[in-house]
Amino acid sequence: MSFTYIASAADWARIAPELVLAGVALLILLVDLLLPQTGAVPRERGAANFFVLPLLALLGVLGALAATIVLFVVGDGQRAFFGLVGSDWGSLYAYLAILSAAGLGIIFSPAYLKRLKLVHQGEYYALFLAATLGMMLLAAATSFMTLFLGLETLSLALYILCGFVTRRQSSQEAGMKYFLLSSFASAFLLYGVALIYGATGTTRFGARGTSAFPGVLQFLQVHPQSTTLLLIGIGLLTVGFAFKVSAIPFQMWTPDVYEGAPAPVTAFMSVGTKAAALVAFARVFAVVLAPVAADWQAVVWVLAVLTMVGGNLLALVQRNAKRLLAYSSVAHAGYLLIGVVVGGATGLAAILFYLLCYAFLNAGAFGALSALERLDNSGCDREDLRGLWFRRPWLAGFLAFFLLGLAGFPPMAGFAAKYYLFFAALQGGHPELLLIGVLTSVLGMYYYLRLIAAMFMEPAREAQEEALEVSLALAVAGAGASAGVAPRVSGPLGRAASTRTGGAGTGTAGAAVAVKTAAQATTKRAPAAQQAPETREQATEEGALAGSSLSWTTWLGLGLAALGALALGTVLPFWLVDLALKAAGTL
């Protein structure tokens, strides 16, 4: 019971992307200390904080991306550190998705943090990169140990990021819920790992192609039939992964956390976590445990179907856009699980390609919402989104673009991804999954379109009501503040009123709803009224929101995401699918 292993330079090279990220994360913490903290330029306004740190983080992501691409080209695809971490194309492909999401999340962050007056940006970006690191580790794990390590790294960072808006109760609540439930689920996963370890005697996956999982194969030679130990281990492992990919019935944390967390974080984690966990899930089940596929396939099949149906069903009546997207991500997890059930090169390639496409679409959608979210986590309700097109046409256009992409409309990436996935289902001998997936997509279409309808086809709240609401807020804010604020508020409002459509029929209904929301808005603000300056800030923030003055970084992020989504849907499948197919072979 002893071994000697000396890490070689090649080993380090194989985890170059992770190293870059880790380095930059530490660097950010250092730089944060050096940035001007006080004085003429306060921390929450300073260009340094809103430029240097995100830029650094972005550079880190880009560096990791560059490293990934280099590895694609020149890497040997071997496992590093005695078979603990993979540097195969499958992992690298997953990195692409994770890093894309991370990059977009980072681009969306500065404007958001600035608007919400969030400090501690050094920690924010460092944790962001740490979470990314964890995800990559999880995706590349070729041993249960690395797998667990990656899982926890990403989770720990995300707990904090979810609860990052300390002034918002829902954010804290999200962090707390995520923390408790995730740890709970990790315990099951870990117990499963322990049992599998007991049954097979190893925690390493073994090299691809020669012997999928030496443990499993040895085990099968000894025991012609799977023992309960292994089966229960697999079951508990399923639970752990299902939790992370938010498969029903382990999805319950998802909407709460996605809704409560800051939108850029949601943009990142909804994609990154899913990507990492799914690749790990696929690797463990569809590759490592493939010899005993007959044992687990039924369970994952049920999970996939439940998730596809349930995710879409639950999203139907959601009125909050963030929450709706959370459920939609549950539904997408269901589609992705098809790939796990089907397995094989095509199934895995479908997962990889889908994740990449999904990264741009989902990150883009949450990014657009990040421009709308207010400090008290309002601003994303359907009522708030009504008539958005008349107020902020480009933002509405972007959001609609991403929603349509998620709904699976060509020529956005969502369609190409879905097509390939469904193709994999058929090819893998599961036509029923193809059919279920197709039919549940119709359900999905409804809620995306309903949201778009609210933005594009329904008039905004009646002008008077809105004015009333604002005047209430202003009254609380105090007379002194209102003088400076009023012009800024009334300008966009006037515009909104003038661009409002006729829509007499829905007008009255809209008015009734608007009264209600106005009332809610005032009650929500009542506690905040104790602190007059904050309320004033909120009022100005709203004024800024109503205008179309978005930060250029947000535009950049939205543009990149849209470009990516479009390119993935039209031009790139040409070789990205091929690449995914090759990558899947190496998982």
Partner: protein
């Protein structure tokens, strides 16, 4: 000296794990819930150590260390979140936390 059968260890581990699980479900204080989760993790650790010795493999032992480390990190983060919540709410009862639902 008679050796205690492996299965006994595993049964103890399973019992501990179950106790932890039940703890998570029935307690309302996040601290206690968190402690229950720690209990679950330690049950896993027991299983790992047992199996490691039974299989004569180092993997299990290494795993235990990793789990311990991660658990420690979790404690830090968890407590930080709990403290932060306590600051704004003056109350950390998990049943009071349902702003987000539906």
């Amino acid at each position: 000296m008679t050796t205690i059968p492996v299965s006994w260890y595993l049964i103890v581990s399973a019992l501990l794990f179950t106790i932890g699980t039940i703890g998570v479900l029935v307690r309302r204080n996040p601290l206690i819930i968190f402690m229950s989760i720690e209990l679950m993790l330690n049950a896993v650790n027991l299983a790992f150590v047992t199996l490691s010795s039974y299989l004569d493999s180092a993997d299990g032992q290494v795993f235990v260390f990793i789990v311990l480390t991660v658990a420690a990190a979790e404690v830090v983060v968890g407590l930080a979140i709990i403290v932060s919540i306590f600051r704004t709410r003056r109350n950390i009862d998990v049943d009071e936390m349902n702003l987000l639902r539906g």
